[in-house]
Amino acid sequence: MLAIDAAAYRGPWRRLHPAVKGTLFGGLLVCALVLPAWPGAALSALAALAAGFGPARVPPRAFLRAAWAPSLFVLTGAVTLLVSVGGPDGPVAWAPDGARRAAEVSGRAAAALCCQLMFAFTTPLADLLPRLTRLGLPAALVEVVALTYRMLFVLLDTTRRIQAAQAGRLGYRSRAAWIRSLGALGAAVFVRSYDRARRMRRGLECRGYDGTLTVLVEERPVRPAAIVAAVAPPLLVAVAALAAGISPSPG
């Protein structure tokens, strides 16, 4: 239903412990953010893409579609860095050093985006949420988050069907109709979400619900070898980028 979510469940890395994927892509993300943008960010992006499209077999088309919106944000944001306003050179002028700054910012962000997306594309939220308690979050809060995740799909389904029904009766033909339809949709989905909560309480009571939603989480041990393998790429990227920074650049 949501492309990233569906791919995360289907991918071959589904079985890897989230900590391993977190170490790999999180490490690369940190590299992209703190190392000199060239070649640090470029190497991080390369490593993330190689891991994602290689062994993790992330579907490239879904990846591109997901990357489209944030890339536009990054590009447009970077474009504003090219110009300077209200400075000594007139109301609007090319910013000194603007091109380099824009390239650096967008390069860094693009690399970070690759790392984030590859993590999202390989790690189902259902594997991640139960582990939030490890971060010190109260169990009750984690349960609310997990319920949100489950109900989101039920509600999303309802929303799409209501919207299709409205469109069938020409509810999105004019702007006025669109606003009216969205208002009706928002209200209907709100009522439905409360109805869902009520019905779920009824359904869970029969299964012994007493206020806590305890479930048995299958603990997969983290293999030390896997962690080492996951630490290696970020380390290599860091070493390579720092070495390139120390060695005198040609020319």
Partner: protein
């Protein structure tokens, strides 16, 4: 694919040709492919098949609620163009009624909900009011007009949704599992109402996995399981056990019992198939 030719069929008011859908979300296999159906004007077409076979998808494609990945939808002989205008015209003339009435009821009161479509069509207020009254009367729920939708029974909500579609004055009414969730009395009442619409000239497309219902009620039938397994006159398509089994459906009681009773001489050789168990019981009295 089995195609029974049907010389008596009226020209198709609506057709889907070589429809393909579902190459989405990284799925390598489409929901269905190469689906062609014709909806003869003024008749009832039943679409049958197992769950997941694509019945709802086909209905939504025909009503302009989904856009095919490939193939064409043809309305009155003219291909529907995938523009705002083309799809708008298709949606106006072909009204889809979903299985779950709650997906289509989003206004506070019954009359308000039924007026949603005509208002969006930009009809003047007196005409909208007149259409709402007419649609509520056609479904025999004029007394519910001012009721809040969430206090209605399931059967009543199904009727309100149908009235909402009817108020658009469509040429074709497409109903996804119209009898699902109704009790026998509700089914009979709905069929009586639909019979009235059919007599008034509305073309109907219904999806179902109730072969008895389709056999008793449809003129034409399509068996669908990710592709068209058979299409043609309902009587021919729905009495072929091999075809039905290929579509993972159960044969209908009516024709099976009719054949057995005729063979046993319990009824004359020209007697029609019984439509309900009641008719069989009357025989043995």
């Amino acid at each position: 694919m089995t195609h029974h030719t049907d010389p008596a069929a009226a020209p198709a008011v609506l057709a889907g040709r070589d429809l393909v859908f579902g190459y989405r979300a990284g799925d390598p296999v489409p929901v269905f492919s190469g689906v062609t159906v014709e909806v003869p004007a003024g008749s009832v077409l039943a679409v049958l098949g197992p769950n997941g076979g694509g019945k709802t998808t086909l209905l939504r494609l025909l009503a302009g609620s989904l856009t095919p990945d490939a193939g064409r939808v043809v309305l009155d002989g003219t291909e529907v163009r995938p523009t705002r205008r083309g799809v708008g015209e298709l949606r106006r003339r072909v009204q889809l009624v979903f299985q779950d009435p709650d997906d289509q009821l989003f206004s506070a009161s019954v009359a308000q909900d039924v007026s949603f479509g005509p208002l969006n069509q930009g009809r003047p207020e007196p005409e909208v009011r007149e259409r709402v009254a007419w649609a509520l009367a056609a479904l025999e729920i004029a007394d519910l007009a001012d009721r809040p939708t969430h206090l209605l029974s399931y059967g009543q909500r199904k009727r309100v949704v149908l009235a909402g579609a009817l108020a658009m004055r469509p040429d074709v009414l497409v109903l996804d599992e119209p009898t699902a969730g109704l009790d026998p009395e509700g089914v009979e009442a709905l069929l009586a109402t639909l019979g009235g619409l059919r007599a008034a000239g509305t073309t109907l497309v219904i999806s179902t996995h109730d072969v008895d219902l389709a056999h008793r009620w449809a003129d034409h039938a399509v068996l669908l399981d990710r592709r068209v397994l058979a299409a043609g006159p309902a009587r021919a398509v729905l009495t072929d056990p091999a075809l039905l089994s290929a579509a993972r459906l159960r044969p209908a009681w009516g024709p099976a019992v009719g054949a057995a009773l005729r063979a046993a001489g319990a009824v004359p050789a020209t007697a029609p198939d019984p439509a309900t168990p009641g008719e069989v019981i009357r025989l043995t009295r």
